[in-house]
Symmetry: C2
Subunit: 247 residues, 2 copies
């Protein structure tokens, strides 16, 4: 029995999130069926992050355990031949048995895209939040600085989450605009439920001047979900990368 | 009665091309229905180019004639509110009655995208031709030089086309690679049926060394469709822009 690490990219538009559910199609279910049919034994997948309905991934990291002699290059091709076009296995690699995609993760990178134009875009509406009102990017960049660092991020955690600690470290948070696409990229040691989407929604409030950058500090100190902005919609969010090495 | 120039972007994946047909959904039909419902009179659309099934546009140019007092900014919003998300009107502007999107056009720009990677991409498979074999970009760039200029392009015209002249001028033809995406961008005074896709297919033959760059000259001189490469698939093609000004 070997453990395999799988890097997966997917367009989450047509799926009810990553994690398996009764009566709803999920990324995990589709992946498990494809891999099972190739390695010809029942396998179960563990993912690094349980992306929500409509959220995408470029570098979701999963593992499965199986007994197989199929070389890794061939595994990639074979699994992809059984997957729909909106889910693609980018890499398969055998790893040590104690490697765990969630517990071994050191850093995760998410990207939130906002299409900030007068009219929507037929090529981007699935992958960016269409927001036609003017956004002051420099204010959003200033606000982002308050979020970087180790903080209790309870204010950016959806109610109903049952995590033990709401303390996380954000290593970087960049806001950039290229043409009409605003890109919020965040790197941290872990994220609370809906944290990136609430941060995006809060930065948008700053961008339209409903909040000042300085107020972010009060929002964090307040430790209350009610103080922060709305949860930005899922289509803008992509899980970019999970890192496992200490830097 | 005024003539309106409309710039339209669309993801052609789910349409049977631009031009209206019986028993198949087309861009023209969807646009005409949306505009008719807004200006509340039957209108007919003329487009600058009849893109094929699965071909996309970022700057298709159309006109329609209507009697309406709706300001142009409001027309854009109103029409878009009646369109599906994969068709977006980017601009509406009143023009002179003698403006014709095809006959008045001076230059058209098309882009052909090739995803040249080992595995496909869930975000690009609709917008790029997935071609996993190694492409020698410098050879494709060398081959492109033979295509630039005024030539009889009969070799790059699909059989069955009934145009009077197969002479066209290609002003520029650039081949570039960014990460795993090969981008072929071509500007000309007009294009024969399937011309850009056949040029793309022929450049790919050069990229895999089945043709040498110099052979392009013989292919053009031969004036025979059989001499050139296969027609590259539609998903890679996007109509980028139509220019109406003399430069």
């Amino acid at each position: 029995m070997s453990r395999f690490k799988v890097i997966v990219a997917y367009d989450g538009t047509n799926y009810h999130g990553f994690q398996k559910q009764n009566n709803a199609l999920t990324i995990q279910e589709v992946l498990e069926k494809a891999i099972t049919s190739i390695v010809q034994q029942p396998i179960e997948i563990i993912g690094a992050g349980r992306t929500d309905t409509g959220v995408h991934a470029k570098g979701q990291c999963c593992v499965f355990d199986a007994k197989t002699n199929i070389p890794e290059e061939n595994l990639i091709k074979a699994i992809n031949s059984r997957l729909p076009k909106d889910i693609v296995v980018k890499n398969v690699q055998s790893v040590q048995e104690n490697f765990h995609p969630r517990y071994s993760a050191k850093r995760k990178i998410y990207r939130y895209q906002i299409l900030n134009s007068k009219t929507c875009d037929p090529f981007l509406y699935r992958y960016a939040y269409f927001y036609p009102h003017t956004l002051e990017i420099s204010l959003m960049q200033e606000a982002a600085k308050y979020i970087i660092g180790e903080h209790d991020f309870k204010c950016f955690c959806s109610a109903g989450s049952s995590v033990q600690s709401t303390i996380r470290t954000v290593y970087s948070l960049d806001v950039n605009k290229h043409d009409e696409l605003v890109c919020i990229e965040i790197c941290g040691n872990g994220f609370l439920y809906n944290m990136v989407r609430i941060i995006a929604g809060t930065l948008i409030q700053v961008g339209i001047k409903k909040l000042s950058p300085k107020e972010i500090q009060n929002i964090i100190d307040g430790k209350d979900r009610k103080g922060s902005g709305p949860t930005a919609p899922p289509e803008g969010l992509t899980m970019m990368e999970v890192n496992y090495e200490d830097e």
